[in-house]
């Protein structure tokens, strides 16, 4: 039922849908919450890429961030699961139907604390999906306690100072086997939108840690996740450009300053180096660069690592082409002869 709207009214995308068809319910998050901006960028990316909403599955854990799938793409199935366990639900859902585009939304508490076990294993499996951490350094929904991504020295409104090291979810994801890893900022519209569009074209785990300030509990002086802090410390490692397969490439390539990556569907990810020694296909270098920039107090953003060759989990399992979920009985229940053969062997 691909709704091909042909009235001349609203602007439509390449599959004939107006952006309205990518919207969700009205948000109930705080005004100014970074998570809302991320939802907006997801809507834009899906619209611009012309993704059929019915082909998308939205998955999330628990937290303000994990609520946000309700606020974009109402025409897509969505599963708001339990705290920290979205990775397993997503794994099951994508095994059942590998033809769907999975987009998971999690929080820094959801992924880096209660759910870190499942997080690392999803990365390790390179499950083909987009995994977004909406990272505000605190537990928003339970009213502002520190999360495990909070930086050392970061201060809560109550004056409590964090003295434990931050878990860098990007370094982890790179080391564990995710094949598209980057960081962005909810306030950086252009970069985030471009990264999301490239993410849609990637086949494998895309892990995006998106700094997303919590205006209610972590946007004050002394926080390292505030809008102000990000404005002062964001340090893009590259300028991210993306040309989807259905658009003409018109910019010239300069091997000295840019990195071109051809994506699975033929789209082009063009990364213009802003850092010396930047090479997004070198895992060790990526992790080293992240660690060094962290020591310098910078918040590095951009695409840190990409690998378009590694097999996704669903490929490793060598599944039939159609979704397992809807295979007919003839293909899932072996014949009577098979049962008789098995029984004969047991006699």
């Amino acid at each position: 039922m691909a709704a091909t709207v042909t009235n001349p009214g609203p602007k439509v995308n390449r599959i004939g849908l107006p952006v309205l068809e990518y919207r969700g319910s009205k948000t109930t998050l705080c005004a100014g919450c970074g998570h809302n901006a991320i939802s907006e960028r997801i809507i834009d990316a899906m619209y611009e890429m012309g993704v059929q909403p019915e082909r998308v599955m939205k998955l999330s854990g628990i937290g303000c961030s994990s609520k946000s799938p309700a606020y974009f793409m109402s025409r897509s199935h969505s599963f708001n699961s339990v705290h920290g366990r979205m990775p397993s639900v997503a794994t099951g859902a994508l095994l059942a139907n590998k033809t769907m585009l999975g987009i998971g939304v999690s929080g820094d508490g959801d992924s880096a604390s209660i759910g870190i076990g499942q997080f690392v294993h999803l990365m390790r499996r390179n499950l083909p999906m987009i995994y977004i951490i909406e990272d505000n350094g605190v537990y928003g929904l339970t009213k502002g306690q520190f999360s495990a991504t909070a930086d050392i020295g970061s201060k809560l409104k109550t004056g409590v100072v964090n003295d434990l090291p931050a878990i860098d979810t990007c370094s982890l994801a790179i080391q564990l086997g995710a094949t598209f890893v980057g960081r962005s900022f909810s306030g950086d519209k252009r970069q985030l939108l471009t990264m999301l569009k490239a993410a849609i074209a990637h086949k494998g785990t895309v892990m995006l840690d998106v700094i997303s300030p919590c205006v209610t509990f972590n946007d004050h002086e002394g926080s390292t996740r505030s809008y102000k802090y990000m404005q002062d410390h964001e340090e893009p490692v590259s300028e991210v450009g993306f040309v989807p397969v259905f658009e003409e490439i018109d910019v010239e390539y300069d091997a000295g300053t840019t990195f071109d990556v051809t994506m699975h569907d033929g789209s082009l990810l063009r990364l213009r180096k802003l850092h010396e020694d930047y090479n997004p296909t070198d895992r060790a270098l990526a992790v080293k660069t992240l660690m060094e920039s962290h020591e310098k107090g910078e918040v590095l953003t951009g695409v840190f690592y990409i690998d378009t060759q590694k097999a996704a989990f669903t490929d490793l399992l060598n599944l039939v082409d159609e979704p397992l979920a809807t295979l007919p009985q003839e293909r899932t229940r072996p014949s009577k002869q098979v049962l008789e053969e098995v029984m004969a062997r047991l006699k």
Partner: protein, 619 residues
């Protein structure tokens, strides 16, 4: 064996003395005491299968430690012309292959029993009322097996030969069983056969039969199969069309998925080499159940298999599955808890924790197979119920059923097509627009089961939002008191629908008796035999209801109503099934319930049941 009472009174009253052995035919048990990791399984299996091949009903139980190698382990084989398959406390023939436990093993025998052992152990010094058969195992082994490192394994086949000779097992049956065991390994088969023959010849030449136990050909096993409960569950799942399987290894459940993987690789890989299934070894049981629910939500037939500790970890997700109405099948191969408990011993002690698994008001359907055949059938039923009822379904087997070999009639091919439940197509959604549109959690049919759609359904109104938070009939977020209450009441009504769909109990009732027994799962084997004992020895004819699921069908109430005293037999300390019955029965009926419990980690035996009932009956 250490756990049986020394000199326990004979059950059948068939004691024999060396002087006047009245033959005891096709009714005895053998216990093989070995060391874990010594490779005795093949020998034990050959012995069991040779008795089976002689047409004599037989069952085997492996009593093993939580250890990879070195600790004592016992395998018991029971031959019973009556077809009894429960554990028997009394051992008639001991094969003592473990020097460390040999003294204790022989001391635990009752007078008149027989013992086969390594001659240097000189066990005769401990018992003069037991028939002793010393055998020079090491010497015999060395003669047939020049390769020293194979001797530990081959030695086991010597006792097969000795037992075959002493018990009059047909050597053709032994050879058949042995060739089957080593089907693809001709050399190993030959070597092992030589050992069997060496044992047989030694016994024929050097031992004088003095005990009364013999085997005679019968025709009671014709057409039967031998299989373990876990393999039966695996087959049931495959023939139910399972497509997503997740697991985290744990004894005694691992072999469900391990054997399922073998079957799937053999029978569910398509012509182009691609698999119509996905198996994932998850990072833990939380992930295993999460994957099942995610897959079930997206439309796959998904399952996981675990044991007690895994069930505990699955609690939060199971509540989500109940509340958000997600299908999934969970096999629980029960072992002794709490905590690590006795991981290699059996119990029926997860009933209460599963029935109400998770916080808040939850209840879950439990299927209770009482045989390998029911493992197969209920595995299939579980998938149909899960998708039809849109809820997690638990299948409770146990270590005894799951890991031991059982004789059975061959399994029957399912005669009904798969029931995939109420799933709407794009066309149906379009059609429903005329009547106000579909709502994910509406009860349209009056059975409290709503309609669902799968991700990927090509209709702009197909999608809905699945959540563990409060929701209304349209699946929208809601904290309204009436929405929550309506939802919870519908879920309770759905449980009533389940009551009419789950396997009904099996009832054996004369209409005369005042006494009834209620049991389930592996307690059935002991109860079946105990009822015969009660009748033969005490003239008590007890009626019997074997539960096969929770929620209970109506028959349970009727059964209780028509008796004065009901004995609930189960393998746990806290009378868990009795508690569930109490919740279900009218208050006036509950004083009728009496409890027979068995919880030492060993499978329940008939004598324990009989003794306890006799005691409580005051006979």
């Amino acid at each position: 064996m250490a756990t049986t009472n020394a000199g326990a009174p004979s059950a059948q009253g068939e004691t024999a003395t060396a002087a006047s052995p009245k033959p005891v035919t096709n009714d005895f048990s053998i216990q093989i005491a070995t060391v874990n990791g010594s490779g005795s399984q093949s020998a034990n299996s050959v012995l069991l299968r040779s008795i089976f091949a002689m047409g004599v009903p037989v069952s085997g139980k492996n009593l093993f430690p939580s250890n990879i190698a070195g600790l004592p382990t016992w395998f018991t084989i029971r031959a019973s012309k009556y077809g009894y398959v429960a554990r028997r406390k009394e051992i008639d023939i001991l094969i003592a292959m473990n020097a460390e436990t040999a003294r204790e093993d022989i001391l635990s025998l009752r007078p008149g029993a027989a013992a086969i052992y390594e001659e240097t152990a000189n066990l005769k010094q401990y018992r003069d009322d037991v028939t002793c058969y010393p055998v020079p195992f090491d010497k015999l082994t060395a003669a047939v097996c020049p390769e020293a490192k194979l001797r530990k394994l081959v030695k086991n086949m010597i006792y097969v030969g000795v037992a075959a000779q002493l018990l009059s097992i047909d050597m053709k049956a032994v050879e058949g069983a042995l060739r089957m065991q080593f089907a693809k390994k001709q050399k190993a088969a030959d070597l092992n056969w030589a050992a069997v023959e060496a044992g047989f010849n030694y016994a024929a030449q050097s031992l004088t039969k003095q005990d009364p136990f013999v085997l005679e050909r019968m025709h009671a096993t014709e057409g039967k199969i031998i299989i373990d409960g876990n393999a039966a569950c695996a087959l049931g799942a495959m023939f139910a069309g399972v497509t997503v399987v997740t697991w985290y290894p744990i004894t005694p459940s691992s072999s469900v998925v391990e054997q399922l993987i073998d079957y799937l690789k053999k029978y569910r890989v398509e012509k182009d080499g691609k698999a119509s299934f996905a198996v994932v070894q998850a990072e833990d049981e939380l992930a295993a159940i999460g994957m099942v629910l995610g897959a079930g939500w997206a439309g796959a037939r998904a399952m996981t298999s675990t044991s007690g500790p895994g069930i505990s970890l699955m609690a939060e997700f199971t509540g989500l599955g109940y509340f958000a109405e997600l299908p999934g099948v969970i096999f629980d191969i029960q072992r002794v808890g709490p905590s690590t408990g006795l991981p290699t011993r059996t119990a029926q002690a997860d009933l209460l924790s599963i029935a109400f698994l998770s916080h808040g008001d939850t209840k879950h359907v439990m299927l209770l197979p009482g045989s390998v055949k029911e493992c197969f059938e209920f595995a299939g039923a579980a998938f149909d119920l899960a998708e039809h009822l849109q809820t997690p379904i638990f299948v409770l087997s146990d270590l005894d059923l799951g890991m031991n070999n059982w004789m059975s009639d061959p399994f029957e091919y399912p005669d009904k097509p798969l029931n995939r439940g109420k799933i709407l197509s794009a066309e149906q959604i379009e059609e429903m627009k005329k009547s106000g549109g579909w709502g994910r959690y509406q009860d349209r049919d009056g059975d409290a089961i709503p309609y669902r759609t799968l991700p990927g359904t090509d209709h702009p109104q197909a999608a809905y939002f699945t959540r563990g938070s409060g929701h209304n009939e349209k699946a929208l977020y809601s904290e309204r008191p009436e929405d929550y209450q309506n939802l919870m009441e519908r879920l309770a009504r759905k449980f009533e629908t389940a009551r009419t769909l789950v396997p009904a109990p099996v009832v054996v009732q004369t209409g005369q008796s005042k006494v009834g027994i209620i049991a389930f799962g592996t307690s059935d084997f002991a109860v079946t035999e105990s009822r015969d004992q009660l009748k033969k020895e005490y003239g008590v004819e007890a009626d019997y209801l074997r539960l096969r699921a929770w929620p209970f069908s109506r028959e349970v109430r009727d059964f209780v109503a028509s008796h004065e005293r009901i004995y609930v037999v189960e393998q746990n300390r806290d009378a868990q099934m009795l508690s569930l019955l109490k919740l279900d029965l009218p208050a006036g009926e509950t004083p009728k319930l009496r409890s027979v419990r068995h919880f030492n980690g060993l499978p329940i035996d008939a004598r324990s049941v009989t003794d306890e009932i006799v005691l409580q009956e005051g006979i």
